[in-house]
């Protein structure tokens, strides 16, 4: 049986020579967690199933630093590596793959130019193309949007860009379905209401998107403890859960999370 995946996410500030992993709440209160490939090796030892490197600086000059990070990581970490943040073109994707990435995740560029998804999946395969969707709850009714019942009332989910600094009016569920049709192989779904809050995953969002597509969905945003990860696997049919700060600052190791999940009946790789 396929195991549920636990994916540490490394938010990388590439403004320093070897990059550094950072975590903050909406880019405030930033804390430094370490050197990307050193953390990657540590997570490999702990039994992480996959790693995601997000370039939070996302500027072209720093693409070279990301390549260095991935090259260095792939020398001795043998698990799937995803690169995201500022991938704008097929060329950016190719640079990431040449450095050793297995997948690229795209958000803003795909919303602005949806054909990019078709191109990436055509040239590098569906499995290499991750669509990142950053979704925010909207409680006002709007025709044409998928309304979802939540304990807080009926809402729809709006896609945002640039890490939540710009909104699009696009319905996240409809966009997820379109992204699948265009060749995305994985959806990295982040709740902008929960991201950085440690209040737990947005179960209604995760469930609604995961039930609307046939490709794997990675739940992201809001993970603050072990129970949150268990909850998202028990209440939704997502394939994977992503977390950052609970791992970076040593609150839990990946193996602790997995042992807890296994004890509670979730099928994981140990």
């Amino acid at each position: 049986m396929l195991a549920k995946r636990i994916i540490p996410c490394l938010d990388c500030d590439l403004g320093v020579p070897f990059g550094r992993v950072v975590k903050g709440v909406r880019f405030k209160q930033i804390r430094y967690a370490g050197i990307p490939w050193e953390l990657a090796q540590e997570y490999d030892k702990q039994g992480a199933d996959e790693l995601i490197f997000l370039d939070i600086t996302a500027s072209h000059e720093r693409r070279e630093t990301m390549s260095k990070v991935i090259e260095k990581t792939s020398e001795n970490v043998f698990m799937p590596l995803t690169v995201g943040g500022g991938i704008r073109s097929l060329k950016d994707a190719r640079t990431a793959f040449n450095a050793g990435a297995d997948k690229v995740s795209v958000n803003t560029a795909a919303i602005k130019n949806p054909d990019l998804l078709n191109e990436i999946s055509k040239y590098f395969g569906t499995q290499a193309c991750v669509i990142a969707i950053d979704a925010k709850r909207r409680y006002e009714h709007k025709t044409g949007q998928e309304m979802v019942d939540t304990p807080q009332g009926e809402c729809w989910f709006e896609c945002s860009l640039y890490g939540g600094r710009e909104f699009t009016g696009i319905d996240a569920i409809q966009w997820a379905i379109e992204a699948e049709e265009r060749g995305a192989g994985d959806i990295m779904l982040t709740s902008m209401d929960r991201d950085g809050t440690k209040d737990g995953f947005d179960i209604e969002l995760t469930s609604a998107v995961s039930n609307s597509v046939n490709i794997p969905v990675i739940a992201s945003g809001g993970c603050g403890n072990l129970e949150h990860i268990l909850e998202v696997f028990k209440k939704t049919n997502v394939s994977a859960a992503l977390a950052a700060s609970i791992f970076h600052f040593g609150e839990y190791t990946v193996s602790e999370v997995k042992e807890y999940l296994k004890k509670n009946g979730v099928h994981v790789r140990l």
């Binding site: 049986m1 396929l2 195991a3 549920k4 995946r5 490999d44 199933d49 090259e71 792939s74 020398e75 001795n76 043998f78 698990m79 799937p80 793959f97 040449n98 450095a99 050793g100 990435a101 297995d102 590098f124 395969g125 569906t126 499995q127 290499a128 192989g185 994985d186 046939n214 490709i215 794997p216 394939s239 994977a240 790789r269």
Partner: protein, 199 residues
């Protein structure tokens, strides 16, 4: 020298690094003439069946010569698929080195299968030495191989169907998962493969 065939399909760095890690001597080969003299051949794989076959055709003669000489060969994912007779994905003929077809995963499961799944070992093989029943490997695929001779299947995995995860026929070894992405267990498989080249 272990030749990794570069047929223009994605990331060869990880398989190269993984073989280096287990003391292999990999060389990435993009020119079929350079295949001769190889002690072993790896056909890595990402992408689609049709594109893979198109790009591999130029290597066909040299590849068949090596296989007939008994050189160990490892096909990974698409590199496994192309060894079969026919692929549903591109409605395209493969090399036909193993009799059987490559068909789409069944309805009712998420496609692609993406993630770590358990190996069910059917019979011992040198490639699987040190691997236990239930060990996890990393799979990414939408199609799977159905060999006509079930005895060539040395391990399976369960994903909506009990599918062939490892197929072995004489010196031809083929794995549906990615050993180069399967952490320490994957490295054991690659180490076993490297050791075959030294027999």
């Amino acid at each position: 020298m272990i030749a990794i065939i570069d047929y223009g399909m994605g990331n060869l760095r990880s398989i190269y690094n993984a073989l280096m890690n287990v003391n292999g001597d990999p060389v990435i080969v993009s020119d079929s003439a350079k295949l001769s003299g190889a002690d072993a051949v790896v056909i890595p794989g990402v992408g689609s069946f049709g594109d893979g076959m198109n790009n591999l055709r130029p290597f066909e003669d040299e590849l068949f010569d090596l296989i007939h000489d008994g050189i160990p060969m490892l096909g990974i994912c698409i590199g496994m698929h192309v060894l079969f007779d026919w692929g549903e994905e591109s409605n395209c003929e493969g090399f036909g080195l193993i009799t059987g077809d490559v068909i789409r995963l069944p309805q009712g499961v998420r496609i692609p299968q993406m993630g770590w799944n358990e190996l069910r070992i059917r019979c011992d093989s040198d490639l699987l030495s040190g691997i236990n029943d239930g060990d996890f490997f990393y799979f990414v695929h939408s199609y799977y191989c159905v060999p006509e001779n079930k005895h060539t299947i040395t391990a399976t995995t369960d994903y909506g169907v009990d599918l062939a995860a490892v197929v072995e026929k004489d010196n031809i070894h083929a794995v549906q998962f990615h050993p180069e992405k399967s952490s320490t267990k994957g490295l054991i498989i690659l180490k076993n493969f490297v050791e075959m080249t030294r027999c």
